[in-house]
Amino acid sequence: MTSKPLPSLIAVIDVGTHKTASLLGQIIDGKARMLSFSERRTDGVVKGTVTDLEKLTQCVHEVVNDIERGSGRAVEQVYLSLSGPAAEGERVKGFVAVPAHDGKITAKDVSDAIQSAKRLEPPEGRATILYMRQPTMLDNRPVTNPVGMAGKRLEVNFWRVTMEEGNMRMRVGMVNGMSIKVRDFILASHAAACATASDADKQGVLVIDIGAGTTDWILYYKEHILCAGSIPVGGEHLTNDLSVALRISRETAEDLKLRFGSAMHRENDVNQTIWKDGDKGVGDQQFNRGTITQVLSLRYQETIEFVRKDVLRRLEAIFPGHAVKLDQNMIPSGVILTGGSASLADAAEAVQLVMGLSARVGIPNFENESLRKPEYAGVVGLMTAAITDAPPPVRRPRGFLAQIKELFRL
């Protein structure tokens, strides 16, 4: 598994509600060079939940075939993105009380603490997908490497992501079906952050990835993942609201959203009449632009508000009894928006308004220009995360490894 050295060829697949994208890269000096890229319309996923496994599997197979054909290389293993409410995260802790007579932390103390954190069983019926390291605390002070330091109580923390076992098996099976192994899962929001946020940003940044079916977010604090979550609302809801309000088809709503939509509703939008086709010919329809921006801005801002509440709720669960405030002090780099709906006009302004934090649209940092769009932050970030996260900082306990091995067996 991931304890093996990084291969020279990395394939990633980002399965979204709307699109499935795959990227194959050659790793040279720790950087990825793109060999091939493919994206296709996703079938069989509604609101981030798999509804038709057969269709989805076919779609995944198609993108893998595409990148194999495009590069002339065979794909043996892939990294899969994980998004939506199915992947539930929580903080797990492990403690070690250091004997009073020596008082120096040893490497064994650290590994004991890690073991104790990972001994915590996931809820019944759920499998642990991944652990993400959080700050280590020595006598309630955060430390980078406690070995050799004096202290009484060592605490290690992880952000543990679990998923319903059947769901996980299904995702693994989807790829196994074409004799490819799942090398690892990567949280989609973490991927989006890896593509768009710098190390300096990770001192305090909230990355919100607005996909078609779900909005995933992740909060970094002092270089570590503090918490992450997902809201089952996304760009499809913007389209849906518009289609309901104007009684138009999904396609027309999608088109109007892109051409005239905005995450902000302004007074003078109301006085603008816009034409559906623009040729004023037979079948052309006129709409009030104010209706479009009103409908979209309400949904957009509400979704961001749901994210804000979810972040606060999770922070309160981690720091019970503390009044946590999402402000410039805690999150100096503000919000980075990624995903397809990050491109909606005035998105950053709306997020700024709701969150009370500075906000910007995140453009993935990648050599290939065609992928430097917020909607590709996920797939590009999977590649980045696969490189930067390997080898994993923490060994997985044997029980987990065995469990995963069984699941991943071809």
């Binding site: 509804t51 809801h237 389209t239 849906n240 309901v244 009030n288 209706t291 309400l298």
Partner: protein, 357 residues
Amino acid sequence: MVTRLSAQLPPEVAVALLDTDARSLPAGTATTLQLGRAQTRGMGTGGEAALGLASAESEEAALRRLFAGIPVVVLVTGLGGGTGSGAASVVAGLAAECGATVLSFATMPFSHEGERRMRQANDATVKLGQKCHGLVVVHNDLLLQQVSPDAPLSESFAAADNWVGGALRGLASAFAPGALIAVDPAALRSLLSTPGSPTLFAFGVGQGDGAAMKAARAACDCPLAHAPGAVAKVASLFVTVAGGSAMTSTEAFEAVAAIRARFGGETSTVLCARIEPTLGNRIEVSVLGASLPAPKAPAKPKKGAKAEDPAQPIFEFATEESMRRGLFGGTPMTFIDGQDVDVPAYIRKAVRLPPAP
């Protein structure tokens, strides 16, 4: 609500109150029938639809007696709670079995009333739709959009009363003797002959100069007809125009022309006009319309679902699903803070949208 409405109705209309809660059945004003005496002991259902259903079933004989010989039954019910959600489909079914044309007005709970009530109401509209000839769904959320944000709650409920009351008056007066252009209940029956077709309903009032046109325009703008997913154009229309003694037939026809321009009615338009001296210089227009059933998407066989008997077609109304959830109709509801977030944000937040150009 029914108690308040019964005062406005012509004497030809018999009003019956049905409830499980004995306290909400005042004596004297109308026929009352307490449902589920054995099941609830007059205490209401406590929100349990199953209890509402059992309560109605237990009074089958009394309900049949109630509906005997009645040509048109208008069922007004609030869905979401136990009595309405459970009993409505039973009552409608019995009325239909007794030979009546059944038209139902069902109010849906506010989004903020939470998941349970909304689910219960959704299930109930589907069941009710299969039992009655016409179903008009009134969304409480839409009522909120009509009143100013700081208006008292009672005002939005009064608006609901007005619409449904207007509809009932319009219908009742159509069949009452003395109409300028009279119709008989069979006209309504033929209009609603295709159970399961989406039902359109609109109501408008106008006053003073050009009252008829004002009323027609108000009906065209009626939020009930603008409910998301509500039918835009229908094949058959049933228009009632009622006005004071000054109303002329030209006026009435103008109003109907305006209604037809907006809602269609190409196949047939039944017009009823009557003079109601008590209305003074006011004119009321109410519109009922039906189109052929919307083509049903081929049902996907669900895992573990029982195969439906093809000999028993199930009629589907444009109910909650397509009315409000749009493209998400048919998908499981997603709740955040007790609200189904697949319903457009502007509806849940009761924001009135700018007018179309």
